[in-house]
C-alpha cells in the first residue's frame, strides 16, 4: 500500500513537472483574474459578465472570476495566494480592505503580475492603478441633469441627502451646485437630510412636498433616500407630477419607475465596470499601456481613462436607468 502510494506520488510529481514545463512554453492565453469582494453578489456577477465580454473582444484572454465566500480581507488573501501560485498575468480586484491586501498584492507584483483595483480600491503601493466607476464632478452633473432633462421649461427641485456630515453626498451636492448655471431655469429650493434612514427620509420628502407646493423634482443622491422619496411621492398621489431622481439601485427602484414616481435615476453599470477593468488589465499586462500619472489607458467601447496623480481614474458618467432598461437590470443588483 505504502509503496503504491509512493509510486503514485512520484507519478504525480513527474506529471506535474512535465505539465509545468508545457504550460510555461505554450502560454499564449493571457489569464486575467477578476477578484471580487465575495461571490454570489449580483453586482459582481454582472461585472464578470462584462469581463467575459471584454475577453471575447480581445481574444486569447481567459477570465478567472473568483473571490472569497464572505467579504473578508483574509479570504481575499487566500484567493490572491492561489492566483500567484497559478502565475496569472493580471489581477483586477475589488478590495475588501484597502490596506490589509497590500502585502499580498505587493508579492503578486514582485512575481510579475499586473495588479489593478476597481470599484473598491487598494492603497497605492499595492496596485498600479485604480478604476473608479465615476467621479465626483460627473456624479454631481448627472444628478442635476437627470432632473433637468424632464423639465425643459425649468422648475423647482429639492435635494434629499443622507446625513449632513455624509462626505460623499456633500461633495456631490457641491459639484452639482457648481454646474447649476449650465441648467437655466432650474432652481434648487432646499436641501433636507434623511440620514439614510428610510422613515426619516420618507418624512423629509413629505415635508418638502408641503413646503414647496410647486415642487417639480426631488434629487436624492443616496440609495436609501431615493426609494423613500419615491414612496412618499407615490403615497401622496403625485407620481408623474413630482419626479424623484438621483442615485439608486435598479432592484429597489423598479417599482418607482413602474409607478412613474421616478422617470429615471443613475448608478454605475457593473457590466461596464467589469468590461473596463478587464480592458485596462489587458493593456497594462501586455505592455500596450503603462500606469503612470497623466497616462491614458484605452478601455475598448468605454473610451479611455486618464489617470490622476494617485494613478486612479474615473470610468464614465453614471449609467442612466429608466423604463427602457430597468427590467434588464433589476434582477442584477
Amino acid at each position: 500500500m505504502i509503496r503504491r502510494n509512493f509510486t503514485k506520488l512520484l507519478a504525480g510529481a513527474s506529471l506535474a513537472v512535465s505539465l509545468m514545463g508545457t504550460s510555461a512554453m505554450a502560454q499564449d492565453n493571457m489569464r486575467i483574474a477578476l477578484v471580487v469582494k465575495a461571490l454570489g453578489i449580483g453586482f459582481f456577477e454582472a461585472a464578470a459578465k462584462g469581463a467575459e465580454e471584454a475577453a471575447g473582444e480581445l481574444g486569447n484572454v481567459e477570465i478567472i472570476y473568483t473571490g472569497p465566500t464572505d467579504t473578508t480581507a483574509e479570504g481575499q488573501i487566500e484567493v490572491i495566494n492561489a492566483l500567484i501560485a497559478q502565475g496569472v498575468d493580471a489581477i483586477a480586484i475589488s478590495a475588501n480592505d484597502p490596506d490589509a491586501l497590500v502585502p499580498a498584492l505587493k508579492k503578486a507584483q514582485q512575481r510579475g503580475i499586473t495588479v489593478i483595483s476597481w470599484d473598491s480600491g487598494v492603497a497605492e503601493e499595492g496596485r498600479s492603478m485604480h478604476l473608479n466607476p465615476s467621479s465626483n464632478p460627473l456624479i454631481g452633473n448627472m444628478i442635476i441633469k437627470l432632473a433637468a432633462d424632464h423639465l425643459p421649461d425649468g422648475g423647482q427641485v429639492a435635494v434629499l441627502s443622507a446625513s449632513a456630515t455624509a462626505t460623499n453626498q456633500n461633495i456631490w451636492i457641491e459639484e452639482m451646485n457648481k454646474v447649476l448655471p449650465d441648467y437655466p431655469g432650474i432652481e434648487v429650493v432646499g436641501t433636507v437630510y434623511g440620514d439614510d434612514l428610510a422613515d426619516k427620509s420618507y418624512r423629509e420628502a413629505q415635508g418638502l412636498m408641503q413646503s414647496y407646493p410647486d415642487l417639480d423634482a426631488i434629487i436624492a443622491p443616496t440609495s436609501v433616500g431615493i426609494v423613500a422619496a419615491a414612496q412618499a411621492v407615490q403615497d401622496a398621489g403625485k407620481a408623474g407630477e413630482i419626479n424623484v431622481t438621483g442615485l439608486g439601485l435598479p432592484s429597489e427602484m423598479a417599482g418607482a419607475i413602474e409607478s412613474g414616481a421616478s422617470k429615471s435615476f443613475a448608478i454605475w453599470n457593473p457590466i461596464d465596470l467589469g468590461y473596463s477593468a478587464t480592458m485596462i488589465a489587458h493593456a497594462l499586462a501586455s505592455g500596450a499601456a503603462t500606469a503612470e500619472p497623466g497616462a491614458s489607458i484605452p478601455m475598448g467601447r468605454m473610451g479611455e481613462v486618464t489617470l490622476d496623480e494617485t494613478t486612479s481614474g474615473a470610468m464614465a458618467d453614471p449609467f442612466v436607468y429608466d423604463s427602457s432598461n430597468i427590467d434588464e437590470f433589476k434582477s442584477i443588483f
Binding site: 506535474a16 464572505d70 497559478q86 502565475g87
Partner: protein, 333 residues
C-alpha cells in the same frame, strides 16, 4: 510523534479509545496524502516549493490557536472568543503603534492582551462556574465590540518594518517564520498533552470532572490555565496575522473561531471532551490547508470549499462509526 500508551484513564479501562484514535489519525493521514496526490494531478502549479509555502499561511495561524483549543475542548470546555481576541489584541497593537512603540513592545502588548482576555474568560468560567460556551459567546461580542468602538471604520497601520517578519518573514528558504512557530508549538503542545501530568489531568477532567476533582486534580486551576493558554495563543496568532496584513481593522480574523473548532474536531478531538490528540490536529491543519489551497488553484468558488470542508468533517467523523456498525453486523452474522 508516536502514540503513547499512558493515555488510559482509570474509569475507562475497557474503552476502545486508543484503538479508535489510532485509526482516526491514520485515516486522516490517508486523507491528507490522497488530497496531496489529487492536488498534484489536478493542478500543474501545486508541486512548487514556493506555492506550497504560500499555502501554509492558510492554516498556520489558525492551527496555533487550535492546539490550545484542543486541550480546552478535551477538558470539556470551549472558547468561541478566540477570533475576537485576535481583533482586540491587534487593535491594542495598532493603538500602540500610534504612540511609537517598537516591535518588541508590540509583540508584548499583543501577547498580554491575549492573556488578559483569556484570564477574563477563565475567571467567568472557573470562578463563577458559568458554562464556557455561553461566556465565550458573550466575550466574543464584547472583545470585538471594543475593537469596533475604538476603530469604527478606521484602520491602524504604519507598523514598523521589522514587525513584518512574524507574518511575512522566512527563516530558511521557503520555510516561513509562521511555519517554524507552528511546528515548534505542535511539539510543545504534543509533549504537554501526551507526556506530562498536566496533560493527563486534562484528559481526566474531560472524562469525568467530578472523578478528577476527587482524585486530587485541581480542576478549576487546570481549566484556568487552559483558558489562559488559549488566550495567549490567540495573542500569538494576532501578532502573526497583524504582521502578515500590515494593518488592523476591527473585522480582522472574522469567523475564525469556527474554523479553529472545525480543525480541532477534524483532528479527532471529541467535542464533548475526554479524547483527542495533537498529532491529529496537526494533520487536520494540513488537510484543511491542502484542500483550500488545492481548490483555490482550480479557482473553485469559496462556497464549494466550505462545502468540501463540511463534507470532509462529516465524512471523517461518520466513517469510523459506520465501520464499527458494519463490523458488529459482520460479527453477529
Amino acid at each position: 510523534m508516536s502514540e503513547t500508551t499512558t493515555r488510559h484513564i482509570p474509569d475507562r479501562l475497557r474503552s476502545p479509545l486508543e484503538a479508535r484514535l489510532k485509526s482516526w489519525e491514520s485515516l486522516l493521514l490517508l486523507v491528507a496524502v490522497a488530497i496531496f496526490i489529487a492536488n498534484s494531478f489536478a493542478s500543474p502549479y501545486f508541486l512548487n516549493a514556493w506555492n506550497l509555502s504560500d499555502a501554509t499561511f492558510n492554516f498556520t495561524e489558525k492551527a496555533m490557536i487550535a492546539f490550545a483549543m484542543a486541550l480546552l475542548i478535551i477538558s470539556g470546555e470551549i472558547d468561541l472568543s478566540v477570533a475576537a481576541i485576535i481583533a482586540l489584541a491587534s487593535t491594542a497593537m495598532g493603538a500602540a503603534v500610534q504612540f511609537g512603540v517598537g516591535t518588541p513592545g508590540l509583540v508584548l502588548i499583543g501577547l498580554t492582551t491575549g492573556l488578559a482576555c483569556g484570564a477574563f474568560n477563565a475567571v467567568l468560567v472557573t470562578r463563577l462556574g458559568l458554562p464556557s460556551i455561553v461566556v465565550t459567546i458573550g466575550t466574543m461580542s464584547l472583545f470585538r465590540g471594543i475593537s469596533y468602538i475604538v476603530l469604527g471604520d478606521q484602520v491602524y497601520k504604519g507598523y514598523p518594518a521589522d514587525f513584518a517578519f512574524f507574518g511575512q518573514g522566512y527563516v530558511f528558504w521557503v520555510i516561513s517564520f509562521e511555519l517554524v512557530l507552528f511546528a515548534l508549538l505542535a511539539v510543545i503542545y504534543g509533549v504537554v498533552l501526551h507526556k506530562t501530568n498536566f496533560g493527563r489531568a486534562v484528559y481526566a477532567i474531560g472524562n469525568n470532572p467530578t472523578g478528577a476533582l476527587f482524585s486530587g486534580i485541581r480542576v478549576a486551576r487546570v481549566k484556568f490555565i487552559l483558558f489562559l493558554l488559549t488566550g495567549l495563543m490567540a495573542g500569538v496568532a494576532a501578532v502573526c496575522l497583524t504582521s502578515r496584513l500590515g494593518s488592523t481593522r476591527p473585522s480582522i480574523a472574522f469567523g475564525w473561531e469556527l474554523e479553529v473548532v472545525t480543525m480541532v474536531v477534524l483532528g479527532g478531538v471529541n467535542i464533548l471532551g475526554g479524547s483527542g490528540s495533537i498529532p491529529g490536529v496537526v494533520i487536520a491543519a494540513f488537510v484543511m490547508g491542502l484542500v483550500t489551497f488545492g481548490l483555490g488553484l482550480l479557482n473553485v468558488p469559496g462556497i464549494v470549499m466550505s462545502i468540501m470542508i463540511g463534507l470532509l468533517l462529516i465524512g471523517v467523523i461518520a466513517l469510523p462509526r459506520l465501520w464499527e456498525k458494519w463490523r458488529r453486523r459482520v460479527a453477529r452474522a
